[in-house]
């Protein structure tokens, strides 16, 4: 997993609630057996005016100039500012893969869907929760000021605006630790092989039907 420590990056506002994973990366791209290459299809239905299919040259497609991602002032954005319940819907990890592949490293929203939130951490994408008032303020400032950049400090758990206003955010200690160090969960779990085996031995006695098929 990619490490995350600090970042100062351009912010792109996506002013809709309940952005679902079908909107983040439509189903036709889920046929891929890879983890990469989803960036050009991020927000496909909103971003392009013509229908997209896997394998096509997306640079030749008709872009929707009205969609925020296509506005030149947000080119190269690394921080996505979003509304409530971002990432609702399916468990597809292709959603964080597409956001990362496009270049986003951070999302800021008042809330996230549980599975998306969890999947993001597994990929080094940092989903920050700030309260609605703070998010409203960031939307106003981002839209008012071209080139608006925020500074994220994971160790300090802070978001700092260009004017120097600091917002603190909460994050689970375990997730923070993994993200700061780029740790692989599987490696961590395999440090407890003996405990897993002991659990299995006990369960085989208590509930042997769980081990018969």
């Amino acid at each position: 997993m990619q490490k995350f420590e600090k970042l100062t990056g351009l912010v792109m506002p996506l002013d809709r609630a309940n952005v679902d994973t079908d909107a983040i990366i439509p189903k036709q791209y889920l046929k891929s057996i890879k983890r990469t290459g989803f960036g050009p299809s991020l927000f496909d239905d909103w971003r392009y005016l013509d229908p997209g299919e896997p394998g096509m040259d997306h640079s030749q497609r008709r872009v929707n100039p009205g969609f925020v991602l296509n506005q030149p002032r947000y080119g190269g954005a690394q921080i996505l500012l979003a509304r409530d319940n971002f990432g609702c819907g399916s468990s597809r990890e292709h959603a964080p893969w597409a956001l990362m592949d496009y270049g986003f490293r951070v999302i800021i929203a008042p809330s996230y869907a549980d599975i998306f939130y969890n999947n993001s951490f597994k990929n080094g994408l940092l989903p920050i929760v700030l309260d609605r008032a703070a998010v409203d303020q960031l939307f106003r400032e981002t839209e008012a000021m071209p080139g608006y950049r925020l500074t994220l400090d994971l160790a300090a758990q802070t978001v700092t605006t260009p004017a120097g206003k600091v917002f603190k955010f909460e994050i689970d200690a375990f997730r923070k630790h993994c993200l700061l160090n780029g740790l692989d969960d599987i490696g961590l779990t395999l440090q407890h092989v003996d405990e897993i085996r002991a659990y299995e031995a006990r369960r085989r006695k208590e509930a042997p039907w769980l081990f018969t098929s």
Partner: protein
């Protein structure tokens, strides 16, 4: 000892270790695998030179990409075909049982698990699919996971998790005639919203839930995720136990008796504490139809499309306006006045035998309306299809003008060839009405199987109880 919820009991029974940071290592009894979310996990396993921890805990099937017509000819789309073949190869290489595309037992992963008795009360069940919550219907702790977690379960048989909060949704009173599990769960989502269960495991309780069949309970738990809860669950009762008797993977003989004794304890203690409680009265629930692009955008069939100007919250108002634009609907339009292009009866929400029986009962002796371009029934599994054919349901559907298809996820998410064209409007028994879900530009209205069948016959929404 403190009184425990069903979720507390399931959680506690599966904790391998408590970590200092508040997470736990949780043991997973059953891992269901399908072609879409597993290839990168198997690749990760291979790259790290790891082996599956417990091969026999896994059961795989191809469901999302499989064609529902002419299956003998294989998959036409080479990208879909490669994904299904990749699953076949991974299962073969690692010795994992797979019900492949041509196996009579193949079907939607959430239909075949219970059907085989491969998912059982008291188990932890995971799958790289958000609708894994379905399996909570029989007192299991079941939830969807991402591909990194699929790899984690393959490699370790465990997940690192933080326990969710407890939420209870009680539905009390006698379920009125013509009201189904789908109407109940849509009414719940309409009440609590699409994020109403975020951060919680929902237990559905109350005597109305008890009146539902185990299949109906699966419909309710299936859509827990549409209310934001990763896991939905229902306590075990005698119906649950009878449902599993004699299923291929269910325990037999003395083991069955022992299992049943354990399963009977899978209920919340009477004084168990919930962090959040919601109650609905079954008598108030009417047939439900969604009007927008989120499952919470739902009204009774005798209602009308709501007016965003009446919504005080500006973010919600914006969502409603976007939804109306996408759905091409005007505020105040009666739901009954909405005419349809396509009808889809299927998906892990509503493709079990009882769903097909309910739809067939409405359709019997009638014809699909002239304005319906396509009405299709996609059974949830090969065994559901065979059972329906034994009962003559396929004939009823065909004579009415429905297409009778082979099992799979089909037009619930349109990864195979079954999809809506831009602008087409569909009455669908699936679970998500998101923009583009059933095909780019397609418009989805979620309903029960009986309501979808009624809409097929009349060409527009109608209260199935008046048909």
């Amino acid at each position: 000892m403190a009184e425990k919820t069903l979720y507390d009991k399931l959680w506690d029974a599966h904790v391998v270790r408590h970590n200092d940071d508040g997470t736990s290592l949780l043991y997973i009894d059953r891992h269901l695998v399908h072609e879409v979310t597993s290839p990168q996990a198997f690749e990760g396993l291979r790259l790290a030179a790891r082996k599956p921890w417990r091969v026999d805990a896994n059961l795989a099937t191809a469901d999302h990409n499989v064609p529902t017509t002419d299956r003998a000819r294989g998959i036409a789309d080479p990208v879909s075909r490669l994904q299904v073949e990749t699953l076949d190869r991974n299962c073969h290489d690692y010795g994992i049982t797979e019900f492949g595309m041509h196996d009579a037992r193949q079907g939607i992963v959430h239909v075949i698990g219970p059907e085989q008795g491969a998912t059982l009360p008291g188990m932890t069940v995971v799958c790289g699919d958000s609708h894994t919550s379905t399996h909570g219907a029989f007192g299991a702790l079941a939830f969807g996971i991402g591909t990194s977690e699929v790899e984690h379960v393959l490699a370790t048989q465990c997940l690192i998790l933080k326990k969710a909060n407890n939420m209870r949704v009680r539905v009390e009173g006698k379920i009125p005639p013509g009201i189904t599990a789908k109407d109940i769960v849509l009414a719940i989502i309409g009440r609590i919203g699409t994020a109403g269960g975020s951060g919680h495991a929902i237990e559905f309780a109350g005597n109305a839930i008890g009146q539902l069949s185990v299949e109906g309970r699966m419909t309710v738990c299936n859509m827990a995720i549409e209310a934001g809860a990763r896991a939905g669950m229902i306590a075990v009762d005698e119906k649950t136990i009878e449902y599993f008797r004699g299923r291929p993977y269910a325990p037999k003989g003395e083991l069955w008796d022992r299992a049943v004794l354990t399963w009977r304890g899978l209920t919340s203690d009477p004084d168990a504490k919930f962090d959040k409680e919601v109650a609905l009265n079954a008598a108030d629930i009417k047939p439900q139809v969604t009007w927008g692009t989120s499952p919470e955008m739902v009204v009774p069939v005798d209602g009308a499309v709501p007016d965003p100007d009446q919504e005080a919250d500006s973010v919600k108002r914006g969502s409603m306006q976007q939804a109306l634009k996408y759905m091409d609907l005007k505020p105040g339009t009666p739901m009954r006045a909405i005419s349809l292009d396509k009808i889809f009866i299927g998906s892990c929400t509503n493709s079990r035998i009882e769903d097909l029986r309910a739809a067939a009962a409405v359709v019997k002796g009638k014809k699909v309306a002239a304005n319906i371009k396509l009405a299709m029934v996609v059974p949830g599994s090969g065994l559901v299809k065979a059972q329906a054919e034994k009962e003559g349901l396929d004939k009823i559907f065909r004579e009415a003008g429905f297409e009778w298809r082979a099992p799979g996820c089909s037009m619930c998410l349109a990864m195979n060839a079954d999809r809506l064209e831009p602008g087409e409007r569909c009455a669908s028994t699936s679970n998500r009405n998101f923009e583009g879900r059933q095909g780019a530009g397609g418009r989805t209205h979620l309903v029960s199987p009986a309501m979808a069948a009624a809409a097929a016959i009349t060409g527009h929404f109608v209260d199935v109880r008046e048909l």
